[in-house]
Symmetry: C2
Subunit: 139 residues, 2 copies
DNA sequence: CTTGACCTTGGAGTTAGGTCTAAGCTTTAG
DNA sequence: CTAAAGCTTAGACCTAACTCCAAGGTCAAG
């Protein structure tokens, strides 16, 4: 049984974060000592590791809460549920990547067009492109 | 000279957003009428279009404020400055894309491993991978 | 026995970019 | 003239995931 500081250190988090996870309903420590100190056991640590792994693949805390509730009573849930959550997240991630790739190509074009020298910015092609009324300049 | 509602409609924004941009120092309308109503002229509109184009390539409002201040006194700034801002943003965007691509491949792997059927989630490979103590399962 | 490290709680603050509300003027259409 | 639509302000609220703070209780070392 670890106290909050030890548990946090073991998992590379701050104690504050563990309290936040508890308040969010993600991870309630299995017991408290007489003084009210939180006590985490091995199952709590396994659950926290689940949370951290889910975070590492991009799930939000809300999605992780869903996955945890399925995990807790897995017999009463179907395989379709975790898969749906995963596929929805995958779609979100792909949409975000597409958006950023457009940013990237526009920024690359802006950067390439600019000399970047010590001359006055009066005719800077970056500023001109952002001023241009024709959208061509940006895409 | 447009009042705030007209200006907002012309540019596809809400009046609230224009007030927010003013409070942020991005776009202060060039005048006010006797009643204190904001009045935007053509130069204000051009500046707002600059802001919107800069947003469309991914710049934050803070970065846009920097670009605007360079634009305002371009003779006193060098071409290197807009280019630096652009290149820094480009790096940020590329870093974010890399992070999301890792999420994507992990999520794809999770999704592919799961039958997604109506069977009990007791042996769901998504939950198992997130539980696994070997990190291999996720990367 | 004291000092310092660690723990508790409730609640506020952070970032970014808005969005909304309330109370009260102004303007415009009929 | 009146009612509706539009404008003003200050300030609260929103999301997400923490992060910090204050006031006070607990515990281990010397």
């Amino acid at each position: 049984m670890y106290r909050i500081g030890v548990m946090a250190a073991r998992c590379g988090l701050k104690a504050d974060t563990l309290r936040f996870y508890e308040k969010s309903g993600l991870l309630v420590p299995s017991s408290r000592n007489e003084a009210g100190y939180r006590l985490y056991n091995a199952a709590d640590e396994a659950k926290l590791n689940f949370i951290l792994r889910a975070k590492s693949v991009g799930f939000s805390l809300e999605e992780i809460a869903e996955l945890l509730s399925i995990r807790l009573e897995s017999a009463e849930h179907s395989c379709a549920e975790p898969k749906l959550i995963t596929d929805m997240k995958l779609q979100q991630v792909e949409a975000k990547i597409k958006e950023l790739e457009i940013f990237r190509s526009s920024l690359q074009k802006l950067s390439d067009s600019c000399c970047g020298g010590s001359e006055s910015a009066s005719h800077c092609s970056i500023l001109e492109a952002l001023d241009a009324s024709d959208k061509e300049a940006l895409c």
